[in-house]
């Protein structure tokens, strides 16, 4: 019982700074809608950019061949050396690169985006929600 009492006191004590965080912290998460991670964009925003977007699919070859965003290029880590030159053939400065993978929980799109930026490609964005988001909208 002593351990439970002490645990409850710690939990109650944590409420005070947590409340302050929720009100004044400059990096507090918003309540109304999901926060975008650095480099992420919502589908609605990306679609408004029109034909300047170059879609990049970061999933596996099998998933890409099953279905993909029309006009997207496959570019994943497994076949980077083979696929990156093909990407460069399609890319031109001024185009906005939007990378997606399977879902909002997939980190692969962020890794591909980081790799593209390391190779001097910009601007690069990651589609929030990934392929799931695209399918749900269509």
């Amino acid at each position: 019982m002593k351990s439970v009492r002490q645990a409850v006191l710690i939990l109650l004590a944590a409420l005070v700074p947590a409340g302050v965080t929720a009100i004044v912290h400059p990096r507090r998460p918003p309540w109304s809608e999901e926060t975008l991670a650095p480099g992420e964009e919502k589908l609605r925003t990306v679609l408004s950019w029109g034909s300047v977007v170059l879609w990049v699919d970061a999933r596996s070859q099998r998933e890409y061949e099953a279905e993909h965003v029309p006009g997207s290029l496959l570019l994943n880590l497994e076949a980077w050396d083979r696929l990156f030159p093909r990407f460069l053939d399609q890319w031109s400065p001024g185009r906005k690169i939007v990378v997606y993978c399977s879902s909002r929980s997939c980190e692969m799109s962020h890794e591909i985006a980081a790799r593209l930026e390391q190779n001097g490609i910009s601007p690069v964005y990651v589609l929030k929600g990934g392929w799931e988001e695209w399918k749900a909208a269509k």
Partner: protein, 152 residues
């Protein structure tokens, strides 16, 4: 040997007692220090932590946002209490509960094939994968279990 008979057994008990205390002190420091560090990293950037929680696809966004504001402070205070041996039992209970919940969440992500960042230390050590964090948490649970034996 300088000690004989009963003196020798008392000596051995004394050595065991001293190293047992030193061992527990180190375990408390490691466990408590890790939680202070983890909590601090997430207190610095709760928005990113909320995103990482949301990626587990277990809770709606509003709960993730609330947890991102609250949990880091629970981790920080719990780790501090354990390190300073203040409210030690309560801190140990909370650490055991938190580690169990985190490990279950990671296991759930692993089973569902989610390729996510653990979110355990904010973006201080951003790494994709769930197996190593699960193994790390199991080791920490073992340390917590050893510390619990003091209260048998």
């Amino acid at each position: 040997m300088l000690f004989r008979g009963q003196d020798a057994s008392l000596f051995r008990m004394g050595v065991a007692f001293r190293y047992g205390r030193a061992g527990r002190f180190l375990m408390r420091l490691v466990l408590g220090g890790l939680f202070v560090f983890a909590g601090t990293a997430k207190i610095y950037d709760p928005a990113t932590f909320a995103i990482e929680l949301e990626r587990y696809q277990l809770l709606p966004w509003k709960i993730c946002a609330a947890a991102a504001d609250y949990l880091p402070w629970v981790e920080f205070l719990t780790g501090l209490c354990l390190s300073l041996k203040s409210f030690e039992r309560g801190a140990l209970l909370l650490i055991t509960l938190l580690l169990s919940v985190f490990t279950l969440a990671l296991a759930s992500a692993l089973v569902r094939g989610l390729n996510i960042d653990c979110g355990c230390f904010g973006h201080t050590f951003a790494s994709t994968g769930t197996i190593l964090p699960i193994l790390r948490n199991l080791v920490l649970l073992l340390l917590a279990g050893i510390l619990w034996t003091k209260y048998r």
